[in-house]
């Protein structure tokens, strides 16, 4: 008996392509799942008219790992370590939202020091994530040097995470009620050094890209989303802000004490790839501002709640 095909056959997707493609007017091109720029995470069936993509049928789920199913048989603390593994660019952020959900459900108070540390680390994580975005997307436009520079800076952030949690990526540092351990010696100095370093480096990236005609040609007026479309499609984050809507959950519904920090929500109006680039670059600067403020007034005291119903007692 021959093995059944692993991927969806074209017949099952036929109703999604236009009739022009079936007549041979436009070209159908299969991209992925094994393609250098998809990293094996998705397959796209593209409909091309010349060099313009006019239709795209995504086939996702290649990295679906059943985390929700696995969590069904784990307790809250055991399931925490799986939240790191959902997304290799936002481990701390996933730790945080998971813990925020638990804290909201059981009404658990988080000490101010833990709140500030959470803000510092998630903002560092945002920068690390944006650096990977900037590096890989400019790599796809053949800007190899930007890619290498971004990963060099990202490594500094991962070193800071390793300092705190012992792991570069699978941190599990944020726990329900606070953080795993108090900050290690040298943390503040390491973060301050990074704060001094990054603004200059961001200027270097911008010198390479912002006015580069090759970059402009391939980002301006590409992938345009209007505000109305973005809302109807449920788009949030920098993509929504690049269409002109200044919606940021940190301002709209502040958590972890974001209301104490002074920062702007960068927006743009064009809604194209270039505007999304501008928004994300500015977001990194705003993240630096938040980190600096949080570091300057980092409160002392407990780093995790002492509610013994939810937080394990100290070991020693």
């Amino acid at each position: 008996m021959p093995a059944p095909p692993l991927e969806v056959s074209f017949n099952e997707l036929k109703h999604l392509v236009s009739s022009r493609a079936l007549e041979g007017d436009t070209l159908l091109l299969n991209m992925g799942p094994q393609h250098p720029s998809t990293h094996g995470v998705l397959r796209l069936l593209l409909e091309l008219e010349g060099e313009t993509v006019i239709n795209c049928i995504p086939d996702i789920g290649f990295l679906h790992t059943g985390i929700e199913k696995n969590m069904e048989v784990k307790n809250y603390l055991q399931a925490l370590v799986m939240t790191d593994r959902m997304d290799y660019l936002n481990n701390i952020g996933n730790n945080l939202v998971y813990c925020l959900a638990i804290e909201k459900l059981v009404d658990l108070d988080v000490p101010p020091r833990a709140q500030a540390v959470r803000v510092i680390l998630t903002e560092l994580q945002r920068i690390a994530s944006h650096l990977v975005w900037l590096g890989t997307s400019s790599l796809d436009l053949a800007a190899m040097s930007t890619f290498l520079y971004c990963f060099r800076e990202r490594e500094i952030i991962l070193d800071i995470f390793e300092m705190c949690s012992g792991q570069r990526m699978m941190t599990s540092y944020i726990r329900p009620g606070g953080i795993w351990r108090d900050l290690p010696d040298g943390f503040e100095e390491a973060v301050r050094q990074f704060l001094r370093l990054l603004p200059g480096r961001l200027r270097q990236y911008e010198a390479l890209l912002t006015k580069n005609p090759l970059f402009l040609d391939r980002t301006r007026k590409i992938g345009v989303l209007t505000a109305q479309e973005a809302l109807r499609l449920g788009v949030t984050g920098p993509m929504l802000r690049a269409t002109g809507i200044a919606f940021d959950l940190r301002k709209a519904q502040p958590y972890s004490g974001y209301d104490q920090y002074d920062f702007d929500v960068p927006t743009a109006t064009g809604g194209d790839t270039y505007d999304r680039y501008l928004v994300r670059m500015e977001e990194m600067r705003q993240s630096l501002r938040i980190i600096e403020q949080a570091l300057n007034r980092l409160p002392g005291g407990a780093f995790i709640s002492d509610n013994r119903k939810f937080v394990p007692p100290p070991r020693a």
Binding site: P4, E7, I60, H64, K69, V73, R232
Partner: protein
């Protein structure tokens, strides 16, 4: 924004389809009969400015009946408010009308709920599995779906376990 007024408006608009009001953890929503979901969503979008469908998922209460509950969360960017809908769905032939015509992003959310829970969406334009392979059997997030695993092969029992694996019998 006065969310209690939204609840009252839905109650007067949809009448007996509103089965109850739910308040939990500072959030508010209504319990709604499955058939009126698109009407309620449209009312929320057009009258009350809830312009973003931020979550659509399901919960399985097996073996209780009604077995499933669909959970919808709407957000209003202008009023910075969150509103929920909760839809009880029976365990046999679960079906709910699609929300695709009101919020296009419901398309993928509904495919995921169908894939994971087996709840069907009437009128959906493309109700295929989205995450699991297209020939998968069963719906993994149902509570009666076993948590499967693969036996770990070591050097000393590699062949023995290999013979038991499904692909070996082809």
């Amino acid at each position: 924004m006065d969310l209690e007024a939204v609840v009252q408006d839905l109650q007067s608009e949809l009448g007996p389809a509103v089965l109850g009001v739910e308040r939990a953890c500072g959030e508010i929503g209504v319990l709604l009969a499955p058939q009126r979901v698109p009407a309620a969503a449209q009312r929320l979008q057009e009258r009350h400015g809830f312009d973003l469908l931020i979550a659509l998922t399901a919960v399985d209460y097996w073996p209780d009946e009604p077995r499933f509950a669909l959970v919808y969360k709407f957000y209003s960017t202008s009023a910075n408010a969150l509103f929920g809908l909760r839809i009880p769905v029976p365990g046999t032939a679960p079906e709910v009308p699609t929300l695709e015509n009101v919020f296009p992003n419901a398309n993928w959310h509904e495919r995921e709920v169908y894939d994971m829970f087996g709840v069907r969406f009437a009128g959906h334009s493309d109700l295929r599995r989205i995450l699991m392979p297209h020939d998968w059997e069963g719906h993994p997030l149902r509570k009666d779906y076993p948590l499967g695993y693969e036996e770990v092969q070591y050097t000393f029992n590699f062949d023995e376990i290999d013979r038991r694996k499904p692909y070996a019998t082809e």
